[in-house]
Symmetry: C2
Subunit: 720 residues, 2 copies
């Protein structure tokens, strides 16, 4: 095996003529079209392309056509300089194309909004052409990417009309990137932002990053860590940011930065950062003005305040609204936004951490300015493998709420595990909140359709780094892709997104497609099973969050595992019903009713809300203990199955990507076993019960698992 691997490695490295499949091209590889009809149709369109205007965004589309014509057809895209030529493909905005469009078609397109697109056939003077249009060049760009995607998936239909528009306004990546290029919770190398070489040196990768995002409709990026450093707000750094903003602008992407609340003290020589202090307000106004001088379309600030040691308005006896509004006032004249995180908790508050965000933000409902949006994590704790939706969704009426998903797999296998997050996000978005309306879901709050909020946002914490394939694990790309698609349309299902991504990444051969889709679709449930089944949560190792640490105790209580699982000889789980912390009471009455009853609550949330005896009888008829061991074991079995199914694909895809994933699946199996063994051996010390015969027995002893140390795990600053 080692020899085979080695033989592979020396075959596939650095070969000059072979088309390297190292993952760098993401879902934009524009592979050769094999079907002759499609080839002929696309070849025709690319033989006569006419753009109705010139602008930087159209230049980008032209480049994309040039690139894809070479890839799809090994042919040059032919751009006509006048409308007299034999045009086949017309590209322009609705107003540019107006002479060719009927009034009803114009109205239809207009309804798609600023970023929507329409593409399809059109007859001009009896001649059939194909048009890509929208209400702005960015809409046209989105339509063009959709057009190219349909070709690459082998699904392009010359006669079909396709249109779409985003349901969420701000579709945003949050980079937790430090200025020294380390990335908090980054597992794909280091930050792609090379601040030292900016503004003088522009890494070509910046452009490929923008292309990839634009192809998904992502239109905003925050470049810096929410655990913020004020240094980014210095003018010499803003000059560096400006270079990126200039590069991203034609792709429709606005740049945001994180604002450290104490910046007025750290860089303004003030003695306070009190949001009601006029010097502090002046500091921020001046700073914002300077930024807009360099970056006229600067997006605004993303802020983490009064959480995990970050400074905030509480230091001055002010609330989050006072803090956020102070920044919002500085930004408003320029059209900027404040994105204020709801991820706020403190061990000094004697309340279940689960409840703290609602306790902070519910009383402030209606107090935030209209260019403020509160960014809420999907669950109330912290991106655990599975969480019930955050109770703030539905709890406020007059506050803009945005979603924060975590694309980087901090708690979900980092970059060594294949875990497709689409199903997890779909589960959250589809969950009924029963508020504001009886049929409301998280998605219908997020996109404003039920909540009526004016400013809408979906943010994802980036999993992008300097690794050649961008995301460390090749399948991490699927999570970036799925995030983009769900931010565009939070109702799209995870399975269809997986299918798209696979076709764009590996081609649309049917058995390959269905095998990979199966692997992806079962991967999240598998990870939940071998990590934190049945509502367990926060069992990971301290600090690095790599691997299991259900025994973690000491120090800040809400950073221990014991705080969350509360295992004892009687049972396990966190009583959050009215007999316990009553975090459950923060949800709508319909939910409170169903979830308060341990026999009615979905078993996947059981231990999240209830402390349950070890011999409690589950729906399966088994005891809680037995059921728990079976969940852990089935997670491992699925991981084994995933690898077996992947190995059947050998020879059906390029060896480089096959071996990349294959190696990582072996690592995943080891890690899954490690999670199962460590957790079950540990919980057995409380349950005192034997392992059922049908599971693979946990190997090793608990002391061994407790002794493991990972001071150099990625995603953290060294702690030695």
């Amino acid at each position: 095996m080692k020899n085979l691997l080695f033989a592979f490695l020396i075959t596939f490295c650095l070969v000059p003529k072979l088309q390297a499949k190292d993952g760098y091209q993401l879902w934009l590889s524009y592979e050769k079209i094999e079907e002759s009809k499609l080839r002929q149709e696309v070849g025709q369109l690319f033989s006569g392309i006419y753009f109705f205007a010139q602008n930087p965004t159209y230049d980008i589309i032209k480049e994309e056509f040039t690139r894809s014509a070479e890839g799809f057809l090994d042919q040059k895209a032919n751009f006509l300089s006048t409308r007299d030529g034999d045009f086949k493909l017309l590209v322009g905005t609705r107003s540019e194309l107006s002479q060719y469009l009927g009034l009803s078609q114009q109205a239809e397109i207009k309804n798609l909004g600023e970023e929507g697109y329409w593409r399809g056939p059109l007859e001009i003077n009896g001649k059939k052409v194909y048009i890509i249009t929208g209400n702005s060049p960015i809409g046209v760009l989105y339509g063009s990417f959709d057009f190219l995607k349909s070709i690459q998936m082998g699904e392009f239909d010359l006669n079909a009309e396709n249109s779409d528009q985003p349901k969420v306004q701000l579709r945003m990546l949050n980079h937790w990137d430090n200025l020294d290029r380390t990335v908090e919770r980054g597992y794909a190398g280091f930050s792609i932002w090379d601040w030292h070489k900016l503004p003088g040196y522009i890494d070509p990768r910046y452009i490929d990053y923008a292309r990839a995002n634009a192809s998904l409709g992502i239109n905003a990026v925050s470049l810096t860590n929410v655990n913020a450093n004020a240094w980014i707000l210095r003018e010499d750094f803003i000059e560096k940011v400006k270079v990126l903003a200039d590069l991203f602008r034609p792709y429709g992407i606005k740049v945001y930065l994180t604002a450290r609340f104490s910046a007025p003290i750290e860089m303004g020589n003030l003695e306070t950062a009190d949001p009601l202090d006029s010097d502090v307000q002046a500091f921020w106004k001046e700073r914002v003005q300077m930024i807009y001088q360099h970056i006229p379309d600067f997006g605004g600030f993303l802020v983490k305040a009064n959480s995990e040691g970050q400074p905030g308005p509480h230091e001055y006896g002010r609330n989050h609204a006072e803090g956020a509004n102070m920044l919002a006032e500085a930004l408003a004249p320029f059209g900027g936004n404040v994105i204020w995180r709801a991820f706020v908790y403190s061990h000094e508050i004697d309340e279940d951490r689960h409840k703290q965000a609602n306790l902070e933000f519910e009383p402030l409902d209606g107090k935030f300015l209209e260019n403020v949006i509160i960014q809420v994590k999907n669950g109330a704790i912290d991106f655990q493998p599975r969480e019930p939706f955050h109770p703030l969704f539905g709890a406020v009426d007059e506050t803009n709420l945005g979603m924060e998903f975590q694309i980087t797999q901090e708690y979900l296998g980092q970059a060594t595990q294949l875990v497709y997050l689409g199903p997890m996000w779909e589960e959250i978005l589809n969950t009924k909140t029963y508020r504001p309306g009886p049929s409301s879901t998280v998605a219908s709050i997020i996109d404003g359709s039920d909540s009526g909020q004016k400013l809408t946002l979906m943010a994802g914490v980036s999993n992008i780094g300097t690794d050649r394939n961008w995301t460390g694990h090749l399948f991490g790309q699927a999570n970036w892709y799925a995030f983009g698609k769900m931010a565009w349309n939070p109702y799209q299902d995870a399975e269809s997104i997986a299918s798209e991504w696979i076709k764009l990444t590996f081609g649309h051969e049917q058995t390959l497609l269905s095998s990979i889709q199966n692997i992806m679709m079962e991967s999240h449930e598998a990870a939940v099973n071998y990590m934190t089944p049945m509502g367990l949560h926060h069992l990971m190792g301290r600090s690095h969050h790599y691997g299991p640490g259900p025994w973690v105790e000491g120090g800040r209580a809400d950073w221990t595992s014991l705080y969350y699982h509360k295992a004892d000889s009687q049972g396990i789980g966190f009583d959050r019903t009215s007999s316990g912390s009553n975090a459950l009471g923060q949800y709508a009455p319909e939910i409170v009713k169903e979830w308060s009853d341990p026999t009615q609550i979905p078993e996947k949330y059981l231990l999240w809300f209830h402390h349950i005896p070890w011999d409690f009888q589950m729906k399966s008829g088994k005891t809680l203990w037995e059921e728990m061991t079976l969940h852990y074991d089935s997670g491992v079995k699925t991981a084994l199955e995933m690898k077996k199914n992947w190995q059947k694909l050998e020879g059906q895809l390029d060896e480089e990507r096959f071996h990349h994933v294959n190696q990582l699946l072996s690592v995943q199996i080891e890690e899954a076993r490690w999670w199962r063994n460590a957790c079950l051996l540990y919980f057995q010390t409380f349950s005192g019960k034997p392992f059922p015969d049908e599971i693979e027995k946990p190997e090793g002893d608990l002391e061994y698992y407790k002794s493991l140390r990972f001071p150099f795990a990625p995603g953290i600053k060294p702690n030695w």
Copy 2:
């Protein structure tokens, strides 16, 4: 300009079919052969290749032939499985080929030693074939790379006999890579060693790294920072190291690690690391034994002790020989070596830092075991832009001395400047030491020819990182290349090496070659001029070493600039003659005589050894002050010239590499001006003299330059 750059960027990113010239392939790109005669000859050879045996190294050669046949000829290399076929190219060791070789030829080859090679024509039964041979598979590998290189340079001669052998035994890269993947003084991203994913995941890059090194004859690598962490010596990390050692073995590369002297305390639970303590000795023996169980050909340890805060034998009243020998005894039974650094100084010793290494090591001459080699930096301070050779070379008779060059450009423009280091290294190696013999040079000590030492070493501090082009600046590759060539043969001249590298990297078109060669050959002198001309040294910014800081003072004196330049109203320079620190007295009498006289010492070393009045008359007839300003200014002018000459090459090479270098040359000009302005404005405060008319006047004021801060400069751990 910005628009042009942008147009370039969107053209050259991520294009699927275009052959990306992103620098990843280094000097091994195997571009298509254009000359038809060469094409035909090489095609013939590749049509019938016979290997006399099977082993992992031959497998590598076969892969290299496969790869190069595709690149050179777009053809498959044809390997014959029996000797009956129509063989054209025979590959095997001398003993494997013995039946075809005459006795004198066998003797000739035998004389080339274990790593030498011979390649050339041979007649077998009246049929002319071509053979590549050596005394070991590694020798054959080196011969094969040389064969491929000659083809790529367009210089292959089917009828010529070529042979070579290394003059230095250990040709070694030192990685200053931390276990968290930061790289001390690394400017090309982060460490390519992904410790977290090892041993389960093997990055294909490891193999390309090994190929590149083997192609230069580099046969040893130390993986970890000399500012060492004992964690690497844990068995779980040795299992990771083993994977790399296994991968590198068939390339002839042995793995070394840095040993932290205090490891017995930190990981052995001992209370001492005293080298004469038997528990300490037992700790190391046990640790070494464990390592060799995993890595039977482990190279040994590289040690930095009692320097810059690193622990060492002095803590226990022991000397460096006692420290080194203790480790050497543990390694000797397995054939391992100790490489002990002479870079030892302390601010607690009241002596010119220049003198301290000799004061430590001269008295220990003859005391080191034979598997110990002392690794000495080229100069006595620290890799400054120009230093006179280290006085330890020639000062000891019975001690193995190895050379330590710094490939990474800590003090020479980091990764934003094109500075070819070959001329600097050539200057050092060619300098006459007058000891042990009157014609001895640094090179003749290093290679053992004059010193007679049994163990020889040339080490280079790596400039390799995760950047796609490996070295950050494309021209950093030339420094890696030149180091490898000079380690193989310390007498090879820098210009011919530059010429080779250019041909392998950009092709052998004559004007391109000569233009790039000119740029490279003048680059080092330019950098010396705009940074530290005329023997000035250690003027850089504190900690990050990025940019000028001639005003740096306070804290540890020997880490300030004032300690070294000693500028005052009278003059400038460090008196190291007998009237001063008498560091000069550590050299041979011939040198003392010449360099003691400020009118005789080469002016490039003047201020290194003398404190000279501002109006001292230089050979040019100008005053010292005038001459200094002219040097600084001429450095800037050369940088401007380099860019002008590079821009003339537009269209003669691929745009990606053209623009990469072009952008960086603009940055280099800015940085050169910054050095000149900051240093001259600062020194003017002492000289009190005006700037000559013929120089570009330094802009800005000194306070501005002093105010600049770079907390996120690469190559350091964050210091905030």
